[in-house]
């Protein structure tokens, strides 16, 4: 079943335009595997992206896809889930898309806690626009727009998500697609907003943070004895002390998702509601305006 489903995803996928070796390939493959393992066929999944190399995620995933504007994957994704709670909704994009132009939506999506999974392919650079600095570029990073080195300090997405109250925060690495697929499985199953920041190397424009560099510098939480992913303060401290250089599930907590908090929100997907009902309720509706 699972194997067939991966094939099904691949059949729907468009052909790729990513540079050979781009980290994003592994992200798509891991997601196909995770969704297949969860027995979710492509038609029940919608992947929403913004703009960027990583914004092509949904073209290559092979599920339903909505490719919005730069930075705008999250509002669209949340609304799709609200409109049809039976769909599995994944938002995806780059670090510029999510933590630059889209940072406002990111923080609010964290606190709104709509049941979607957000995958950020974090390569510390703007890929599609051919190599400018990104909000996650380290201080001093030399790019086309920062020839003297980036002056700003990088955004710290994991801490932001933790501080914002996220119920599921994880980080993956394109160099370990197996772990990534496992994280994705858990994230998709998590009820509420889940963030997976994926270190996904840009082999073309980031020659510092290479697969090799990440491999040497990332601490794998799966191998950390005694790490407790249910303790938010400890998670925060761990991320801070490791300068974010971790991979694995960093924090998880069961929380009621947005839709569970809405009075009157229907158990049946909104998209299947009978739209003619209000016409029958005329007297009652008009009573509100007398």
């Amino acid at each position: 079943m699972a194997v067939n489903l991966v094939t099904e995803y691949k059949e729907h996928a468009q052909s790729s335009t990513w540079c050979p070796g781009c980290g994003d390939f592994a992200v798509v493959a891991a997601m196909q595997k995770a969704l297949a393992a969860l027995e979710l066929p492509p038609h029940q999944v919608v992947a929403v992206t913004g703009i960027g190399c990583s914004g092509k995620f949904n073209y290559y995933l092979g599920a339903n896809g909505f490719n919005s504007l730069h930075g705008r994957s999250l509002p669209v994704a949340q609304a799709i889930k609200i409109a049809n709670r039976d769909l599995t909704v994944i938002a995806a994009g780059g670090d510029g898309d999510g933590y630059g132009i889209g940072i406002g939506h990111f923080l609010h999506a964290v606190r709104r806690n709509v049941d979607i999974t957000y995958v950020v392919m974090d390569n510390h650079i703007y890929g599609l626009t051919t190599g400018q600095t990104s909000p996650t570029s380290k201080k001093g990073f030399v790019t086309k727009t920062t020839p003297y080195g980036a002056a700003e300090y990088p955004i710290r997405p994991l801490e932001l998500a933790l501080a914002g109250g996220a119920g599921f925060v994880a980080q993956g690495f394109s160099g370990d697609p197996k772990q990534l697929a496992e994280i994705m499985k858990q994230a998709v199953q998590h009820k509420g907003f889940s963030l997976i920041n994926v270190y996904s190397p840009c082999v073309t424009f980031n020659h510092e943070e290479t697969y090799e560099w990440w491999r040497q510098n990332l601490v794998n939480l799966d191998q950390e004895q005694g790490y407790d992913a249910t303790d938010r303060t400890a998670a925060f401290r761990y991320v801070y002390e490791h300068n974010g250089l971790l991979r694995g599930v960093i924090f998880r907590e069961e929380r009621r998702d947005y839709q569970s908090e809405l009075p009157g929100y229907a158990a049946e997907a909104l998209v299947r509601q009978d739209l003619s009902q209000p016409v029958k309720d005329r007297a009652e509706l008009l009573a509100a305006f007398m």
């Binding site: 038609h43 504007l69 609304a79 409109a83 008009l286 509100a288």
Partner: protein, 586 residues
């Protein structure tokens, strides 16, 4: 006729309960069977600053606040000064003599009625009840029975216990009796036809109608960011939507709100966002997305005076160009402009149906006066029987998808069709897995830049609107054929233009009135016919540029006989201004 109406107003400092006082008065008279039309003057601050609430009371339906003022309740001298220009000969001013000595210029035929409103309220209850004293006094002088407000008191204060109701009743009675004893000034309200007495009608503003219209039209998601003067739409929709499982969501900004409306529409749920000019500015990119991806979208822009932050609480009709042209590149869209509360109600179903049918953004332009002026509307004029939901080419079942697959081999979201409209499949249907995208694309939804397909897809997006004919429904016309003068307006000006037409007609002019209900596409052929048949044409607008006139020049043609009559000070037209503008040229 106009002079049969009674215009009442209460004015004071913001934060003094002026709005609720006005609403008590208006609602009570409305329930008695009068047609009321209210107009709020207020500012974008919470305390201090002048505010007033005007109520026009008439035995017949009125569409604007009226020119004159018969009775003013003033809690400060500023309120008198502000409203003096409106005061009719023989009118009166009740002022709060506890706090100031009311003054009017020499020679004005206005009766000053000092009543210690604050003192009386303090003695009998609490200072804030000074509004009740004023209502009592007003009631006495316009010939209402003392118990006219009884029902309202029960409804409003009943929950707080009998004592509270009783105190309010006492305070109101004190004002009533004091007024009768201390002044001879009287001006009775117009008589009510027997059939109108106690007749059940609606008391709502355009924003209420937008909300109601949306819900009845099947809207189930409203995402918006608070902004004057559109926030009331959220309040109204919050009263209506939860019953249907719908969601009202306050987004983090208008960009998100609009993107959410697009997302929900993509998923198959009718969704909208409501905003004002500053928010619409933030939605430009989303207009483009809706247009390029062919995803339905409904935006309601309750227009306030711009530019930029402008005058948030003042009215204007200056977002026509914004609505029609904003977003880069070329997309198709539809811009509707309701003139009345009833229009606003029906235009919402029209907006959703058009958005679904043509898979384009639809913007509904409501001006502030229409959005915020609560008024009496006849029940039969909000006719749910006229609501017909048409989702256009929307595939909602596997069978429908199968039929497409049988025809095409597989589902194509952007199929090049005869009418330019390609079927939208709900995400979630088997065998209809597809991409929707902001990039240029081929029929399957692959991003591409191939020249031939680019041209085809662009033509398709524009061609799909060819079947849309606004000429048939988007104009409302009154008056004789081949008039010497044609008054043209859009939005809330209809009431004033219509009354001006009546006055001018009575004065011997052959005048007709044309109200335009859609700005894009403009019902150009129908407008051309009207212009060509008229002697002179005046286009009345609350903006500086004469935006409708410019659109007419663009789409209908250049005519020397067509001129603009413009007012852009944030205040709606008075009938007298319209008449004066006509006399300048006619």
């Amino acid at each position: 006729m106009t002079n049969a109406d009674f215009n009442w107003k209460v004015g004071g400092a913001q934060g003094e309960g002026i709005d609720s006082t006005g609403e008590i008065f208006a609602l009570t008279l409305h329930r008695m069977g009068y047609y009321v039309y209210t107009y709020r003057h207020f500012m974008s601050l919470i305390k201090g600053g002048h505010t007033n609430y005007k109520v026009r009371i008439s035995p017949v339906q009125r569409r604007h606040r009226g020119d004159g003022l018969d009775l003013l309740v003033a809690f400060d001298q500023g309120s008198i000064d502000f409203s003096l220009p409106e005061m009719s000969p023989g009118s009166a001013i009740i002022y709060d003599s506890t706090s100031f000595e009311g003054r009017i210029p020499e020679g004005r035929n206005i009766t000053l009625i000092p009543i210690p409103l604050t003192q009386m309220a303090r003695d009998l209850g609490m200072v804030i009840m000074k509004n009740m004293v004023a209502i009592g006094a007003s009631a006495a002088l316009v010939g209402l029975p003392q118990d006219a407000f009884e029902g309202y008191l029960e409804e409003r204060f009943g929950k707080k216990g009998d004592a509270v109701v009783e105190t309010n009743r006492k305070v109101l009675a004190a004002g009533y009796n004091y007024a009768l004893e201390h002044t001879d000034w009287r001006k009775p309200l117009p008589g009510l036809p027997e059939a109108s007495k106690g007749k059940k009608r609606l008391f709502m503003h355009g924003n209420d109608a937008v909300a109601l219209g949306a819900v009845v039209a099947g809207c189930r998601v409203v995402a918006a960011y608070p902004i004057t003067p559109a926030t009331e739409i959220l309040y109204s929709v919050l009263k209506l939507l939860p019953k249907y499982g719908g969601v009202v969501l306050q987004a983090e900004d208008e960009i998100a709100a609009c993107q959410m409306a697009i997302g929900a529409n993509y998923a198959g749920v009718r969704a909208m966002t409501s905003t004002s000019g500053p928010g619409l500015s933030l939605m430009s990119e989303s207009l483009g997305l809706s247009g390029a991806s062919e995803t339905p979208l409904v935006i309601v822009d309750v227009m306030r005076a711009g530019p930029s932050t402008g005058m948030p609480t003042k009215t204007e009709q200056a977002d026509a160009f914004h609505a029609i042209y904003s977003a880069h590149g070329e997309i198709q869209r539809i811009v509707l402009a309701p003139s009345t509360v009833e229009d606003a109600f029906y235009d919402m179903q029209r907006a959703f149906n058009l958005a679904d049918k043509y898979q384009v953004p639809v913007i509904v332009l409501v001006d502030l006066v229409l959005g915020l002026s609560k008024q009496t509307v006849d029940l039969e004029d909000i006719d749910f029987e006229r609501i017909a939901i048409d989702r256009g080419k929307l595939l909602t079942t596997k069978d429908e998808v199968d039929a497409v697959v049988a025809r095409l081999g597989h589902y194509k979201r952007y199929e090049l069709t005869e009418d330019g409209i390609s079927a939208r499949a709900l995400p979630g249907l088997e065998d209809a897995v597809h991409m929707v995208l902001s990039y240029e694309h081929d029929e399957e939804g692959n991003e591409m830049e191939e020249r031939g397909m680019r041209v085809k897809q662009t033509r398709k997006r524009f061609n799909k609107m060819r079947s849309l004919n606004m000429d048939e429904w988007a104009l409302r016309r009154t008056g004789p054929q081949n008039p010497d003068l044609l008054l043209v307006g859009w939005g809330s000006t209809e009431g004033q233009l219509e009354e001006a037409r009546e006055q001018l007609t009575a004065g011997g002019l052959k005048v007709a009135h044309l109200q335009v209900g859609a700005l894009y596409p403009l019902p150009a052929a129908a407008i051309r016919k009207e212009i060509e048949a008229a002697g002179k044409v005046l286009v009345f607008e609350n903006n500086y540029e004469g935006q409708l006139l410019e659109l007419i020049k663009q789409k209908v043609g250049h005519y020397d006989k067509v001129q603009a009559s413009l007012k852009f000070d944030g205040d709606p037209f008075y009938v007298s201004e319209v008449v004066a503008m006509v006399k300048e040229v006619a």
